[in-house]
């Protein structure tokens, strides 16, 4: 199980929780697991988010979360 830290305003889709556990080995599995457990998150996740694993933004859906010490969901990063 991977503990995923959400931004707190997402807690209205997760029964008030700001950190939730999902069974996942990769970023893709993590996002799919979140959507399955909390369907209200689906449009937000589908619009694009950044998954930050141990302080670094994951570069793809295949990135492993199996050994992650810390996973955060953040708004999609971009720059100028």
């Amino acid at each position: 199980m991977v503990m995923v830290n959400l931004w707190s305003s997402l807690s209205r889709f997760t029964g008030g929780e700001t950190a939730v556990e999902v069974e996942a080995a990769t970023v893709a599995g993590l996002l799919d697991g979140l959507k399955a457990a909390y369907p209200g998150l689906a449009p937000i996740l589908d619009a694009g988010v950044s998954v930050v694993i141990d302080g670094e933004v994951a570069t793809g859906r295949h990135a492993s979360v199996a050994d992650a010490g810390e996973v955060f969901l953040m708004q999609r990063m971009k720059g100028g």
């Binding site: 937000i44 570069t59 971009k78 100028g80």
Partner: protein, 748 residues
Amino acid sequence: MAKDELSEYRLVGTRPLRPDGLDKVTGRARYGADISMPGMLWGAVVRSPHAHARIVRIDASKAEALPGVKAVVTRADFPEGLTGENWNLQENTMAGERALYDGHAVAAVAATSALRAQEAARLIEVEYEVLPHVIDVDDAIRPDAPVIREGAADATVPEGSPPNVARYIEFGHGDPEAGFSAADLVRERSYKTEATHQGYIEPHACLGQLGADGKGEMWVCTQGQWFIRQMCSAVLGLEAAQLRVTPSEIGGGFGGKTTIFMEPLSLALSRKAGGRPVKIVMTRSEVLRATGPTASASMDVKIGMTKDGMITAADAEFRMQGGAFPGAPVDMALYCAFAPYKLPAAKHVGYDVLANRPKCAAYRAPGSPMGAFAVESLIDEMCRELGLDPLEVRLKNAVKEGDRASYGPTFGSIGLIETLEAVKSHPNLAQPLGPNQGRGIASGYWFNHSGETSVSLAISEDGTVQVSVGTPDIGGSRASIALMTAETLGIAYEDVRVNVVETGALGVNEPTHGSRATFASGKAAVTAARQAIAEMCRRAAADWGIDAEAVEWANGAAQPAGPNAGKFPPMGIEEIAAKMGSTGGPISGHHESVPEGVGASFGCHVVDVEVDPETGRTTILRYLVVQDAGRAIHPAYVEGQFQGGAAQGIGWALNEAYIYGQDGRLQNAVFLDYRVPVASDLPMIETEIVEVPNPGHPFGVRGVGETGITPPLPAIANAIEAAAGVRMRSLPMSPPRVLAAIKAAREG
């Protein structure tokens, strides 16, 4: 000793001439407006004079009857059914039912000359029904504000929110109320920043050609040719691979050229004109009225601090308007606002609000300067109240590797403390100040970004090397990529040519944005060079009749790896290249990825100002930028980025603002009235490069392009308070505003 002399590398850290220098100083470089073609038409755009209006009727008959007019397009010429950001892009490119801001395109025309196209545009009759509008973010978030678009709110917005709230975010950690209770001083203040434009010298320009078969080409001034391709394809319903986009040289972008504005119009006009190419060059007024500025912001910040300067808790609510479409960078602003500080507890709330202004685009560290203005101003004010040194307080609370960031995750390798220590020991801090003079200090942060990256490298027949990259060179990336490639290959810098190529030549590349080009394209180029080295070692090994593993690469040549490999003279890259046709064919390297290992960059600025108490004018006396570059590949370009960020930030702080009339029309849509700083406004901006290498890059690179615009806003506000005794919490800090504050303070 100068930093360059300390370098462990042969080329990295040196300052060779820029490869594009001669073209630019001789006028040979070709920018967007320099591209022309036989049979070319000129396009002109009809724009709404109203901030908000229903488009009742468009009659182009008089324009179409004008000799030389070849095509007119309106929204009816664009496909229907788009959703999400693609719809936003299409709606911003060409208004549908309503014009949403002053300058919104409502029709476009192509004719045989620029003058004829402009004349025809004036003959297109548009009947409007003017609607109530809203400009200011605090007005736009009111429950009774004119509604920009029903149903614009996404799933993040709680029910019952005001109608113009398009996105909502809230995050934090710890118990802020407990933190405030533990503080000796708690202060809460409100701040506002104006929307500002990126102010690039080169206006948007493109030449588009599109046939009835859906095949097209575009030459355009852009930060990202693949973004142009993808967005134009989506807006016009084209297959992406059928549109070939070639970037021109670019006269500045700063984030504003990562999206589309009139590019789809040139393609739509071309298609309607039988495939004749159509060139559109924006005027400065069009650039200011209709291309993306950054967002304006209204911010409330609360901080708790102990009497010895430890921050105990922080709370921020930011409201930002990014025009008539979602996309104000309120999330990034909140992520960056407290990033330099280790916070026991924090709460952040953000609203992305719609208003009748142009669709905002990215602008250098999008959002971060606004957040820094609020937070760094309040920290300075609290230091002043507690009698604390603002630099020491920043050091005391500074984040380091392993600390939890204010926005959640744990920091990897970062160089904030090293940056602050470098500031502390800089001689500028010991410079005496005179009457009406003051010193301000502020920190800033930007994440930096990776993104899709594809690079190819090919060895030429004479051993020189060409590198094809997909990231347009807006800040010296060709030089830095050439340096890293030459360093890796062991050859001369001058023997590497880096070309920015069109969309048909490489896999998808994200634009040059997010301070990513030197990091991402550079990292990919190094990997590609290593592939070519492996192949050249294999070719040498085959010639020598030994195993490839027994060959190593050093000083630009293949060499036996040790005495057991045999005695062979080094085989240089020139020799290997000269016979590659008979040893297996072309030698190249290629790498594509979304590179891992982005390194964030912190900076700290110190500014000395003098405020004229009679006029309110602020003069920048001295300016220092200190920033962590990880590793400066070409230090002159790094310094240029530091200086450029500071110059833009100074403009944002002191003068720049969009001024709207009561009618919602932009009143200062030329550079005479929209006041960007010019050389005579600024002293030489001093720089100091801090190098805490990024472990995620082969040479330690961190992006440096964006952080530098973040600290100037609060640093100057802090300096003005030190000089004039007035705290400015609203930008720009222009002479009339500063003078009014001084007078108000005098009157008590």
